[in-house]
Amino acid sequence: MSQMKNFTKGFLKENPVFVLLLGMCPTLGVTSSAINGMGMGLATTFVLVMANLVVSLVKSGIPDKVRIPSFIVIIATFVTIVQLLMQAYLPSLYESLGLFIPLIVVNCIVLGRAEAFASKNTVWSSILDGLGMGLGFTFALILLGSVREFLGSGKIFGLVIYPENYGSLIFVLAPGAFIALGYLIAIINKLKKA
């Protein structure tokens, strides 16, 4: 597989949300607005890249039987670092994402990529894979967040498109997340076949 493919496959062909269906919990939880989706996506991207980098560096030193606990510790460390840095230097973003940051630890995408890709590939491929997957995840969260924000409250990234009263509240709430995600997956599948 060429290096370019490692990077681009995360966007459409193996998009973690729309195709691999990984990490549904944070996906459905944070996407009530586009900006939340973007913050979560970028934080996850950072963790993915760092975790992939470290895992691919140490992969031959870690015995198979303890690889999962080792990976989890590595991932959890980076998540906590992100959390501390965000709390210190970006308090307003931390305010809106605070609850979801610890969820990155249990996000299957991060462990999934460490296990399925970084533990078998070179450092450079792993970084590209993490970056591609992370940006693909971010793209998916922004898309889903925009759709929900638009249908629910008539805004995208806080910009008013139409008056809020005409919005349908259900899209801001949990059921709307499932409905919007379902339709988006259907559309993406259709596009992929075409």
């Binding site: 939340n36 140490v58 031959s60 015995p63 303890v66 590595i74 460390t77 501390l84 709390q87 809020e164």
Partner: protein, 213 residues
């Protein structure tokens, strides 16, 4: 590449090394960010106090007192003018009845108990519904939902659905109830404290403690 064998010693050493490096780097980052986080919290708190009170010259010593029959303390910040008279008190209050549980407010009272302002400190209420509480209760065009300038001792601070005098946020009655619950808790604590000032001395506490939640 040669994988290391999964024998006992290898596994033990690997896990030890991984956790050791992880905890060392976490300790380092924590050390680096501790002051910044503390400053960010204090700054946010100062900003909230300034936003909810009328103009003041300096802040008096803050103190913590538990509301009646409860254990979690509220923090009170008296604000003084140049002559040392109290011009208002900001109360950091909370409720556990929100749609997503706990949230925190800063509420400002003038010395006669009128609300001079409020600010939502942190919450997880539903975006687009309960999250509107930051603006909803200060809408000057809708006196039925505006709480600024009202005195919880004189006005019934419950939602109109429950027979009170305040209109709840459309489609977010639970968040509204919780919001008013937090305001009432602030008011009652402040009131008890003000009434009792002549007698007991308030228990002092330094400002940096417990600001972190």
């Amino acid at each position: 590449m040669a994988k290391r064998e999964s024998n006992f010693i290898n596994m033990l050493l690997t896990l030890f090394a991984v956790t050791f490096i992880a905890s060392a780097s976490l300790g380092l980052v924590n050390e680096m960010t501790r002051d910044a986080i503390k400053n960010a919290n204090i700054k946010a708190q100062q900003k909230a106090i300034a936003a909810v009170l009328p103009k003041f010259d300096k802040l008096g010593k803050s103190f913590k007192i538990p509301p009646k029959g409860e254990t979690d303390s509220l923090e009170l910040f008296p604000a003084l003018d140049a002559n040392g008279n109290v011009v208002g008190t900001a109360v950091k209050t909370y409720t556990n009845k929100g749609f997503s549980g706990h949230f925190e407010l800063m509420v400002g009272f003038t010395p006669d108990g009128t609300i001079s302002g409020y600010q939502v400190l942190q919450h997880q209420e539903t975006p687009g519904l309960g999250s509107k509480m930051g603006e909803w209760f200060r809408n000057k065009d809708k006196p039925k939902q505006d709480i600024i300038g009202k005195n919880p001792g004189k006005v019934n601070f419950t939602v109109s659905k429950d027979g009170g005098d305040i209109d709840a946020i459309t489609a977010a009655t639970i968040s509204s109830r919780a919001f008013l619950d937090a305001v009432r808790r602030a008011y009652n604590t402040w009131k008890n404290e003000t009434d009792a000032t002549s007698g007991s001395t308030p228990q002092k506490d330094d400002q940096t403690k417990g600001g972190n939640s």
